[in-house]
């Protein structure tokens, strides 16, 4: 055990900091053009897709270097770069499962954000039970014809391409009839409808497919092997990027401490109230524990050990923690924590924020409710931990029974017990 950063890491961190000092935009990025410029600057500095193989535009950087970049970006609250799903999900999927032609065609444009990607997985009736998805892709000649509906698609309104999971064999057991297909979002028949969330934002959309025709060569991997591809993809980038999350939480915590140092409650500053202090102490401790856990995963990644299903611990922990912490925030700030417009500067998370925009306490409070639902709900994470890490027996479940019965029926009607 040695939890000091190596000299090499410290040196790298200094370089990242120096770069940020010089290049961090002084003003908020308002237009897509400004955002593209920032993205390109970060890319050219070598900080995007830095873990990718060199031949695909990456730098084969160590996980620790990637983590340091994430941490430092979050520390100075740098604006996000573009194409997060392209870089975190689609790129690695293509690197692992794509054809050489697909890699050539797509990877560089993902890194430069010249083509922006979204992920087309969830459906209205396939949330936790993703494998029951119903969007159909039927092979007609050298084209797939796609019909169906996706939901909870992040960034669909500005996406050029989408990574789609669709059913290609309706007769197979549900996990075995799914394929993974690349879809040009500008194809006729693709319709994106924004979906507003309870905090007023609409970064998610519904996406409808009406006879959308996609070249067969856009299939990723084998036909009907989409489920496996999606699983490896989903676990690909887990854990290594949690340090940037820690930095974000720390920034929020620090702002909360500032506000609590100004705000008076019941005759004293909130920060001097022992009950408030307990909550702040708990918050900080819990964030630190996330940091320790992240370092633990990172040190395994550095040794080339990929996290398995136990990475659900991290997701479960931080999403439930975030929910708890934003309740604390609203406890501590009282009604000030619920103001979106008109909040006095000294108590604001960020000034000049409109309803539906990130930057108010309440916006993020609401958002903390989504963390335990999206990307595998807490219930799903606990199932994974219980069954795949602890080896507890699987639930008796209706879909499994149906599958068993179907298998039995197919094996021939021998009947009986």
């Amino acid at each position: 055990m040695d939890l000091f950063y190596t000299q090499e890491d410290e040196e790298f961190r200094r370089r990242v900091r120096a770069w940020l000092e010089e290049n961090l935009p002084k003003e908020p990025l308002e237009t897509l053009e400004q955002q593209r410029a920032w993205h390109r600057a970060v890319y050219e500095a070598g900080f995007i897709g830095m873990g990718w193989p060199v031949e695909y535009g990456g730098r084969a950087a160590r996980p620790m270097e990637q983590a340091i970049v994430g941490e430092e970006m979050a520390r100075v609250q740098a604006p996000p770069t573009l194409n997060p799903l392209g870089i975190a999900i689609v790129g690695p999927t293509l690197i692992h499962h794509g054809t050489e032609a697909q890699k050539k065609r797509f990877l560089r444009n993902i890194l430069t954000a010249d083509e922006i990607w979204c992920q087309l997985f969830s459906e209205p009736n396939a949330g936790s039970d993703l494998a029951s998805l119903r969007t159909r892709a039927v092979l007609e000649g050298d084209e797939f014809v796609i019909n169906g509906q996706k939901v909870w698609t992040s960034g669909a309104h500005r996406a050029d391409w989408g990574l789609l999971l669709a059913r290609t064999d309706p007769d197979a057991p549900k996990h075995l009839g799914i394929s993974c297909i690349l879809v040009d979002m500008h194809t006729p028949g693709v319709e994106v409808r924004p979906l507003t969330q309870i905090n007023g934002s609409n970064e998610f959309s519904e996406v409808f497919f009406h006879n959308v025709r996609v070249p067969a060569e856009n299939l990723v991997g084998e036909l009907n092997a989409g489920w496996q591809i999606a699983q490896t993809t989903l676990s690909y980038e887990r854990g290594g990027n949690t340090l940037s999350r820690v930095s974000r939480y720390m920034a929020v915590f620090n702002r909360l401490v500032e506000a609590a140092s100004e705000l008076r409650r019941d005759g004293r500053r909130a920060i001097d109230d022992p009950v408030v202090r307990q909550k702040l102490g708990q918050m900080y401790a819990e964030i630190e524990v996330l940091r320790y856990g992240s370092l633990r995963i990172l040190s395994r990644l550095e040794k080339g050990i990929r996290p398995g299903p136990e990475s659900s611990i991290t997701k479960l922990y931080y999403s439930e923690m975030e929910k708890r912490h934003y309740e604390f925030v609203l406890d501590i700030l009282g009604p000030y924590g619920q103001l979106i417009e008109g909040v006095p500067a000294e108590y604001a998370m960020k000034e000049g924020v409109a309803y539906g925009e990130p930057g108010s306490w309440a916006y993020h409070f609401a958002y903390s409710r989504a963390g335990t639902i999206f990307a595998g709900s807490s219930e799903i994470q606990k199932n994974i931990l219980g069954e795949r890490v602890l080896g507890l027996p699987k639930e008796v479940r209706a879909d499994r029974l149906q599958a068993q019965q179907a298998a039995k029926a197919q094996a021939g009607g021998e009947g009986g017990a």
Binding site: P124, D129, S132, L263, L330, R397
Partner: protein
């Protein structure tokens, strides 16, 4: 000993429920989010015609002479549909302040209008500091001829942008409790309204800026420096009113969750058949029923002037705060993604309950008061 609603109370509940279900639809609630006034004046007057506004106002001033229990019954129904309107500011906050002031002239002047719905009022206490006693009031009302001049800023004034008159708590002396109540018309010269936007878009609150606002002598409600007792009465009743409304939010959240869990299928079976969901719903039921007991015990204790009334109010607010937080929050988890969409109504209740949670004492504040009351020996008589 009878913890059940009387027949009259059941009729009242049904009356309110039917009216609100029919009139206070999802579309109405959504329309009011963008409405500057934030409520439908005609619907509010109808509440008056149905005698729902004057429930706790004495009969001689046009009310029904009932009490907190009846108000809680109506407020629970309002919570159930996330009713937007100045019911609480007018007939809980302002009406309580006026009645508790003992000022007969003020009662005669304001209560009949409040009971009929012709008049709407609010109550302005908070400034910069958060707290629920006279010590948070720094704003001065300075005698000026036969009237007073008020300067300063009040915050978190509910429906302050829409009501006719605001009862303002102002400092009139140097002792900590030297505060007085003044009725200030919203359109008084020098009074500027700065509407807030809150997480609950139906929680219409605002800041009020007073720049040498002059009010006549008869704007004083009650006696000079006599505002502390009415304020205390307002806090007690407002806390229970918040409980009742949160209880209604919890009830709807629970009902929607149970209905959804029965029909939504994942993995080939209704999600309500999974223990993770079923047990959550069971805990929500437990929290909701206990919140009911706590809310109505406190309402009764206030009406009956029971020796443990203050204790009961703090028991209720501390308990219902947590119960509603849990129930309305868990409802989102039970629903999954759809519970997080704007189109679905579940967030009305989540937001309303969260809005009410810190008001008139948050959980920590009331727990401290529970212990205070207990150590002072002000507990329920017979059972101890």
């Amino acid at each position: 000993m009878d913890f059940e609603f009387s027949q009259d109370q059941v009729m009242l509940r049904d009356l309110a429920r039917e009216f609100l279900r029919e009139r206070c639809t999802s579309a109405h609630v959504r329309a009011m989010m963008d409405d500057p006034a934030g409520y439908d004046r005609a619907m509010y007057r109808q509440l008056g015609e149905m005698s729902l506004l004057g429930l706790a106002i004495p009969e001689r001033f046009g009310g029904s002479g009932l009490g907190m229990i009846e108000q809680a019954i109506v407020l629970e129904e309002m919570g159930r549909v996330a009713y937007p309107g100045p019911f609480v500011p007018s007939v809980v906050l302002a009406a309580t302040a006026i009645q508790a002031s003992g000022d007969e002239a003020a009662m005669a002047r304001y209560l009949p209008g409040l009971a009929s719905g012709e008049l709407t009022m609010s109550f302005a206490l908070l400034e910069d500091e958060i707290g629920w006693g006279p010590e948070v009031v720094a704003m001065r009302a300075v005698p000026d001829g036969d009237g007073f001049v008020l300067s300063g800023e009040k915050r978190f004034v509910p429906f302050g942008q829409a009501v006719d008159i605001i009862v303002v708590v102002a400092r009139t002396g140097d002792a900590p409790g030297d505060i007085s109540l003044f009725a200030v018309p919203r359109d008084a010269a020098g009074l500027t309204v700065q509407p807030y936007k809150m997480f609950d878009l139906n929680a219409k609150e605002c800041a009020l800026r007073f720049d040498n606002v002059r009010v006549p002598g008869d704007a004083l409600i009650g006696t000079l420096n006599g505002g502390a007792d009415p304020l205390d009465a307002v806090v007690q009743r407002a806390a229970v009113a918040a409980c009742a409304e949160m209880l209604g939010c919890a009830r709807t959240s629970l009902e929607m969750s149970v209905e959804y869990a029965k029909v939504r299928k994942q993995f080939g079976q209704p999600i309500g058949s999974f223990q993770a969901i079923k047990h959550k719903c069971a805990e929500m039921l437990e929290a909701t029923e206990n919140a009911h007991s706590a809310t109505y015990y406190a309402a009764w204790a206030l009406d009956a002037d029971a020796p443990d009334a203050r204790l009961a109010v703090s028991v209720a607010k501390s308990f219902v705060n947590e119960a509603a937080r849990k129930v309305c929050g868990d409802a989102i988890q039970v629903h999954g993604g759809i519970g997080f969409t704007w189109e679905y109504d579940l967030h009305f209740y989540f937001k309303r309950a969260k809005y009410l949670e810190p008001l008139w004492g948050d959980t920590a504040w009331h727990r401290e008061r529970v212990l205070d009351e207990v150590l002072a020996g002000r507990v329920a008589g017979a059972a101890r």
